[in-house]
Amino acid sequence: MDFNLSDTQRMLEDTAVRLVRERYGFEERTRILASPDGFSRELWALFAELGLLGIEVPEEHGGIGGQFQDLAIVLEAFGRGLVVEPYLPTVVLGGGIVGLAGSEAQKTDILPRMAEGKLMLALAHGEPKSRYTLNHVETRAVRIGDKFKLDGAKSVVLGGDCADLFIVSARSSGGTLDKTGLSLFLVERGTPGLEVRAYANVDGTRAAEVTLTGVEVPETALLGPLGAAYPFIEHAIDRGIAALCAEAVGAMAALNDLTLDYLKTRTQFGTPIGSFQVLQHRMVDMTVALEQASSLAILAADRASDPKSSERRKAISGAKVQIGKAGRLIGQESVQMHGGIGLTMEYSAGHYFKRLTVIDRLFGDVDHHLSRFADA
């Protein structure tokens, strides 16, 4: 039983932590959010240079051939810094699903460019009526000769604002809720019939509503097996959840640190407010919640690579529940303990609270995952 990081992982952690500390202060982040792109292409190029985009990409495709836990290390550091760059959509979800389901030709085409920072990806799976149900897909794919024609709508596509290439799930057969009959297609931005409505989310990250009206793609755009893509979708999203859990641990740790510091320095009634026992106990509760959440995030990162969904499911859903509960507690309590300043744009506490709230809503909330865990 070894919870220690390897030497390579420790170096990776140092790199990510230093990057965030030196290049991602709160003022810098505010500036980035206000920019037209809403993220920094300059930093994205730096991520590429540092090898962060190619962590999981095999060496023969221009990456460093690492594993999922290495991604989790980077995400935790990014969580501490509230990094808004589309690392989750491009590297974890997009790169992930291409790595899982892609042919050699597709991987050779896509992964090196992603690792170099030249290609942004977005997984477009969720739909306006699907909520958190992964097998709920109404977008249809119809084969016409040597092409496929796609029609439908995808909602809250993370990274859809800047993606050069979308990985779109569509139903090639079966009814709306069937787990069989699902397929994945590579659709380039600018393909006729593909409409992308980009927007900011409440935490400053970006997404898009994507509509497909008679979008034609060649056969070569099919990613993975026709009508049998569900296991890959489920795996890719489970990995996404594990990644979000790692990010949330970083955010909660930073927020706990910020709040603890405030308790020690803010004085009212002639004393630091941290001298009040009520607040001490509540701060302890936040510390315990973080510890529990971290433990399950570690378990989730460990199981995320397992191709058998039955092995992953309890770890992933358990972690998502724990992160959701802890994120809510730590977010709400941090704001409360900071008083008014916890609610202003000018101070980071409120931004951590917003990010944790968003993470709780992504890929299944606590209720959804309690149910999934119970059924596992």
């Binding site: 909520r131 958190y132 909602s155 008014g340 916890g342 609610l343 744009m345």
Partner: protein, 398 residues
């Protein structure tokens, strides 16, 4: 023991309801019921309508324009207005400085300011909190020094709600730095247009501009604008902060919001099943509705006691704690109800009359922002921690 409203009380409520339906502008009503963005004129126009009807200050003594209604009638009046989508009358004039002036102000102040509060001509804001004085309000440092016939005020107030619209501010200022902190505070009435007054917006994490910092640089305030006696301001502040506080539970608003939550939960679907029919969510709504029922009856018991002339105790503080948490829970469940569509930031969709297409369902845009915004209810008005301190001491003797 009879928990029902009388026939007369219900008849009164219906009279109020008909009047509101006939006089509240449909666009203002739409904005309130759908959590859309309210503008200054929405508040001002409604205040004027109430004033014309003689209903803008129902709880004031009749000699000052009050309606002479019973406590129950006043409660029903507020409830009906809230249910029907009327915007809240800004409390700082009607519920705060008005009663303070009636109790402690000079005849000149009463004669000048009370009519302007009634008519809505003066929009008031509250200058209490400072960056270094939140819960410990008595530690405030904004200073006022008397120089012949003017006070010269220097300092800074914060969290000043809607100061950007205000004409006047009532301010707690330190007039005797040598005295024990509560003993050296006075209350001044300051014109927001005075030279030296600067308002700086504070943008909250939902993107709204609701609160401000107000800076005072050598602001000259006529000495007649002192309320009551010098260095007695803390007494007036305590009076203001404990006067008629049952409304702070916001039962009427929460009942209205519960209906909005149910509407959203009926419309949202989980694979074809309305969210409100899924067990987990249904039970969450039930639990919240039960808490709200309990709060409503607790409030009614306090009102009934007040009706009988029994002096209110610290029980109103209980209502603030519970009421604030219920408001927060309502905002949280509404946000949960829309699943992933809580993410998009869509401020345009909160503007009435916007012709675009909302991102996701039309009720989604306000939900996450309001969840974030409503974290304030356990912080403002005396934080819930302070409320517990007060109850612990005053009610439990601990």
């Amino acid at each position: 023991m009879d928990l029902r409203y009388t026939a007369e009380e219900l008849g009164f409520a219906e009279e109020v309801r008909s009047w509101v339906k006939a006089n509240l502008s449909p666009s203002t009503r739409d904005k309130v019921l759908n959590a859309k963005h309210l503008e200054k004129h929405d508040y001002v126009d409604w205040h004027r309508k109430l004033h014309e009807r003689g209903w803008v200050v129902p709880s004031w003594p009749v000699q000052y324009g009050g309606t002479g209604w019973t406590t129950i009638e006043r409660h029903l009046f507020e409830e009906v207005l809230t249910e029907e989508g009327a915007p809240e009358v800004i409390s700082f004039g009607v519920r705060m400085i008005g009663p303070v002036l009636m109790a402690f102000g000079s005849d000149a102040q009463k004669g000048h300011y009370l009519p302007r509060i009634r008519s809505g001509e003066d929009w008031w804001c509250q200058g209490f909190s400072e960056p270094g004085s939140g819960s410990d309000l008595a530690s405030l440092r904004t200073k006022a020094v008397l120089e012949s016939d003017h006070w010269i005020v220097n300092g800074q107030k914060t969290w000043t709600t809607l100061a950007q619209h205000a004409d006047m501010i009532f301010c707690l200022v330190r007039t005797d730095p040598a005295a024990k902190k509560q003993m050296g505070i006075s209350m001044l009435l300051i014109d927001m247009k005075s030279p030296g007054v600067t308002v700086r917006p504070i943008i909250t994490i939902d993107g709204a501009h609701e609160v401000n910092e107000v800076f005072f640089d050598d602001v000259k305030v006529p000495k007649e604008n002192l309320v009551g006696e010098v260095n007695k301001g803390w007494d007036y502040a305590k009076f203001l902060l404990s006067h008629e506080r049952t409304g702070i539970a916001r039962v009427g608003r929460s009942k209205r919001e519960l209906e909005r939550l149910k509407h959203i939960a009926k419309t949202e679907q989980v694979d074809g099943v309305p969210l409100i029919e899924t067990r987990a969510f249904r039970e969450k709504i039930a639990a919240l509705e039960i808490d709200l029922m309990a709060l409503e009856i607790s409030g009614m018991r306090m009102l009934a006691a007040a009706q009988e002339g029994k002096a209110p105790g610290p029980e109103a503080n209980m209502l603030k704690i519970t009421g604030s948490v219920i408001q927060q829970r309502l905002s949280e469940l509404m946000m949960e109800a829309v699943g992933p569509y809580a993410l998009p930031f869509d401020p345009d969709a909160r503007e009435l009359g916007w012709n675009g297409t909302p991102i996701g369902p039309d009720y989604a845009a306000p939900l996450a922002p309001d969840y974030f915004n409503y974290r304030k209810t356990s912080i403002y008005g005396g934080s819930n921690e302070i409320q517990r301190n007060i109850l612990s001491k005053a009610k439990l003797g601990l």
